[in-house]
């Protein structure tokens, strides 16, 4: 199972847990399975209207900012983070 790091702002949903193990082979599956384990998390991570990761949020898989978002593949050994996206300046 992939290890998902939960941002501090969302840890009230996970009972204070900062890291949780989740089944799934894509980020989309992780988000859906997170919701099953911790109802309410998906609302914070997923933009239903756009069918995408919440605007302004970046998903980091194994140390790299994903360019594929929900479509990014993950493995059982993957480490997944949700962080604020950073805009560049020049």
């Amino acid at each position: 199972m992939a290890e998902v790091w939960i941002p501090p702002q969302m840890q009230n949903v996970t009972g204070g847990q900062g890291k949780v193990l989740v089944d799934g082979s894509t980020v989309r599956q992780l988000v859906n399975n997170l919701e099953k384990q911790y109802p309410g998390l998906k609302l914070m991570l997923y933009d239903e209207e756009e069918d995408d990761i919440m605007p302004g949020l970046a998903v980091i898989v194994d140390g790299e900012a994903s360019q594929l978002g929900l479509l990014e593949r993950v493995s059982d050994a993957s480490e997944v983070h949700f962080l604020p996206a950073i805009g560049g300046g020049g």
């Binding site: 501090p8 914070m44 605007p55 980091i60 962080l83 996206a85 805009g87 020049g90």
Partner: protein, 774 residues
């Protein structure tokens, strides 16, 4: 010690074209005045737009009457916010990825019910001449109810502060979905705090218990402008089929297309954005101001309209960077190992949410291995122009705080400041405070080069002279990008790419393309395509172009290489697997007689199967963070407070410098902007929110006479995610200078200055305070 040479490049791998210094393809036109910038466009029947701006920093617009202006001879159109779309107040994705809150964007382009900063656009006029348009602006009647402005974040966070937006929703999310508008039935009170977020790692309390030395520091910075030489300009022309063409200079013409289409209520397919040459952007031309105004005026007037800002408008109505308040607390063992750190970053966003506080928060501890840490960030709206990105957005102010604190900590420990950084440097596999593991970076190599540099080991003699060191981190970005290459019959290549060229990227992209095909750099003719001619390409920002568009060009070149192999196999009637391509020559693997050069094959492309075209659309991960260390020698005139920079050396991991001269130029430019930010630049704002120095005469930017040669050292630690090892270079160079200069000032006069700018008045005040006199 390194043997001194100016502008050293510490290479680890050499290539044939990559790493050389050819003349940039766009250079001759630029230095001979032939290049066309945004305001150079002139069209038959074109008229001119001017914008009426709020004289107040905070005022309710009670009445707006444009009838007299509309009746003025020569006036062709007058628009207000009613002529723009009124999008929903929620963040949404742009086409193909980026995020924007269109309500805020639209309200920034043209005020609706309130003017939120001095200079906020209220209405616009298009007329036969700019002078007539200006005369007509004076006829627009606006009745304001002047409201008390709130001008800094600390005041704006107080419970009794005036509210910039009465219905702003506070966010407490991990995203930068900063702010939004409360639903009508939501009883939650409004706020000026658009977002608050946190990062935690390890056990902070235990980390500080383990510390034997603790340093706490609070710093503040005020808004500074990017100071590009070319003001914003947009020209719009509607066509009979309902489509719109926009000419402007920007860091992303696809953003211009998307924003303009949304604000004018037309599909993106009906808008073509043509990128003109750009006279600087540094992040501030990632958004736009003039284009939708020109579009709305042109639609109403039935004629092409050009809207060009004055310098004062650029200062008052485009995004400077944030004013900030940052507090850090660092703990370390006596041996010099960091055990804990915490930081609070408060950034002014300007009139609308979305300061670069996420960048500052993610970078503030990025250079270091800290096992226990806490970071929180606040995004706060105030009655100032909406901030926009400025080179490594958020990181320079963050570094000013933490890098001066580290200097203080190293001093308390009796350690050399570079040795302290070496002991605590982040490296591949370091757990970052924000969570992910650090990819391969070259911070240790940069620090070792700094320590071995002759500058660091040179004696610095004389009274009131000091040397300072500081480092900086910036994550760099990638994104989608496109390239199309057409092989010409004479063996040259027309290469169209999607990234506006703001720093020599046409050359850097062409070099990577030429390297793959083994052809001369001069045979590649690059150009930047408009939005109808090239695939979607994300903004020129995040120091990402040499990486992402480089990979697009490499991929297109690899396609051409394969097509060349197949064409040669067809000519020789052999299997393609028996043919190889090396150094611009296609040859049979076992028959040395079968050989064709790139040029020979190019000449035979049509009869062997048609034109050879290579194209690529990519979205590559792994931009690779950048780290830098700067050292500066300076001298203080204690009678006047003037600071003279005596020597400046900037060391930076570039991964692989595709064109070392342009990497050096980026580094030197970043340092110069950092020196200005450190010593002089500031928005000097009255209590009523009026910028009092909105010209280059009064807004003091450094010029060549203020500066010594900025010496550079390019350290190359290849980024494994790029075929040639590229990592972004354009931003991290502005991160260390302010802290390095503050640290040097401390060594020169014995006072730690914790606010920017450290101008002569501030220095004299500090000296008087230190000496107990006035």
């Amino acid at each position: 010690m390194l043997e001194y040479k100016p502008n050293m490049v510490l290479s680890t791998q050499e290539y044939k074209v990559v790493g050389t210094r050819p003349i940039r393809p766009d250079g001759a036109d630029k230095v001979t005045g032939k290049a066309s910038y945004a305001a150079d466009i002139n069209l038959p029947g074109m008229i001119f737009g001017k914008i009426l701006r709020s004289p107040h920093a905070h005022a309710r617009i009670k009445k707006l009457d444009t009838s007299k202006a509309e009746a003025f001879p020569g006036v062709r159109a007058v628009i207000t916010s009613a002529d723009l779309q009124a999008p929903a107040g929620r963040a949404s994705d742009l086409t193909e990825g980026a995020m924007v809150n269109y309500k805020f964007l639209s309200n920034n382009v043209m005020a609706t019910d309130k003017a939120l900063y001095k200079g906020h656009a209220i209405a616009a006029v298009a007329a036969a001449s700019a002078h007539v348009a200006e005369q007509a602006l004076a006829l627009i009647e606006v009745e304001y109810e002047v409201l008390p402005p709130v001008l800094n974040a600390k005041d704006a966070m107080k419970a009794d502060s005036p509210l910039v937006h009465e219905r702003l929703a506070a966010m407490t999310t991990a995203s930068i979905r900063a702010g939004g508008i409360l639903d009508d039935d939501d009883p939650t009170p409004g706020t000026n705090t658009a977002n608050h977020f946190e990062f935690r790692l390890g056990d902070l309390e235990q980390g500080f218990k383990d510390a034997e030395v603790i340093v706490e520091k609070e710093t503040s910075t005020v808004a500074v402008h990017q100071g590009y030489i070319e003001p914003h300009s947009g020209t719009a022309q509607w066509h009979e089929d309902g489509s719109l063409t926009i000419w402007s200079s920007s860091q992303g013409h696809f953003t211009v297309r998307d924003y303009t289409a949304r604000l004018l209520g037309v599909p993106v397919s009906k808008v073509k954005a043509i990128p003109m040459e750009i006279g600087g952007g540094f992040g501030a031309k990632l958004t736009m101001y003039s284009e939708p105004v020109a579009g709305a005026l042109a639609r109403k007037a039935g004629a092409p309209v050009k809207v060009t800002m004055s310098r004062t408008e650029v200062f008052e109505a485009t995004g400077p960077t944030s004013g900030t308040n940052i507090r850090v607390k660092l703990g370390a063992t006596k041996a010099g190992k960091l055990t804990a750190a915490e930081a609070t970053l408060i950034f002014e966003a300007g009139a609308f949410p979305g300061s670069p506080v996420p960048g500052g928060a993610q970078c503030i501890m990025g250079a270091y291995d800290i096992p226990n840490a806490y970071i929180e960030g606040y995004d706060v709206v105030v009655n100032r122009p909406k901030t926009s990105a400025y080179r490594a957005p958020g990181s320079p102010a963050a570094a000013f705080c933490i890098e001066t604190a580290i200097d203080e900590l190293a001093e308390k420990l009796g350690m050399d400041p570079i040795d302290f950084r070496l002991m605590n440097s982040a490296k591949e596999g370091t757990r970052r405070v924000t969570g992910p593991l650090m990819p391969k970076v070259g911070f240790i190599e940069v620090l070792e080069a700094a320590k071995a540099h002759p500058h660091y080991n040179a004696p610095l003699e004389g009274k009131y002279r000091g040397r300072g060191v500081a480092s900086g981190f910036w994550g760099n970005n990638s994104g989608p990008s496109s390239a199309i290459a057409l092989v010409m019959p004479d063996g040259t290549v027309s290469l169209t790419e999607g990234s506006p060229d703001i720093g020599g990227s046409r050359a850097a992209i062409s070099q990577q393309f030429a390297e793959v095909l083994g052809i001369p750099f001069e045979d590649v003719h690059p150009k930047v395509g408009d939005t109808d001619s090239i695939g979607f390409t994300s903004n020129t920002g995040g120091s990402g172009v040499a990486f992402k568009t480089g990979i697009a060009a490499i991929t297109a070149a690899e396609s051409i290489r394969q097509q060349m192999i197949q064409r040669a196999a067809k000519i020789w009637d052999v299997e393609a697997g028996d043919v190889e391509y090396e150094d611009g020559v296609v040859q049979h693997k076992s028959d040395p007689e079968l050989k064709l050069t790139f040029k020979q094959l190019a000449a035979r492309q049509v009869p062997t199967g048609g034109p050879i075209v290579g194209s690529a659309g990519v979205n590559p991960p792994g931009a690779g963070p950048a780290l830098a260390t700067h050292m500066v020698d300076l001298e203080v005139d204690v009678d006047t407070g003037k600071v003279t920079i005596l020597r400046f050396t900037a060391l930076q991991d570039a991964g692989k410098a595709i064109h070392p001269s342009y990497v050096e130029g980026q580094i030197q430019g970043g340092v110069v902007q950092g020196i200005g930010w450190a010593l002089n630049e500031e928005y000097y704002v009255s209590e009523q929110g009026q910028m009092m120095n909105s010209s280059f005469l009064d807004y003091r930017m450094p010029v060549s006479l203020d500066l010594p040669m900025i010496d550079t050292v390019i350290v190359e630690v290849a980024n494994p995610s790029h075929p040639y090892g590229v990592r972004g270079v354009g931003e991290v160079c502005i991160v260390p200078p302010m802290a390095a200069i503050s640290n040097a000032l401390y060594n020169a006069i014995g006072v730690r200055l914790n606010s920017l700018p450290m101008n002569p008045g501030v220095i004299l005040e500090a000296l008087w305070k230190k000496n107990g006199s006035k």
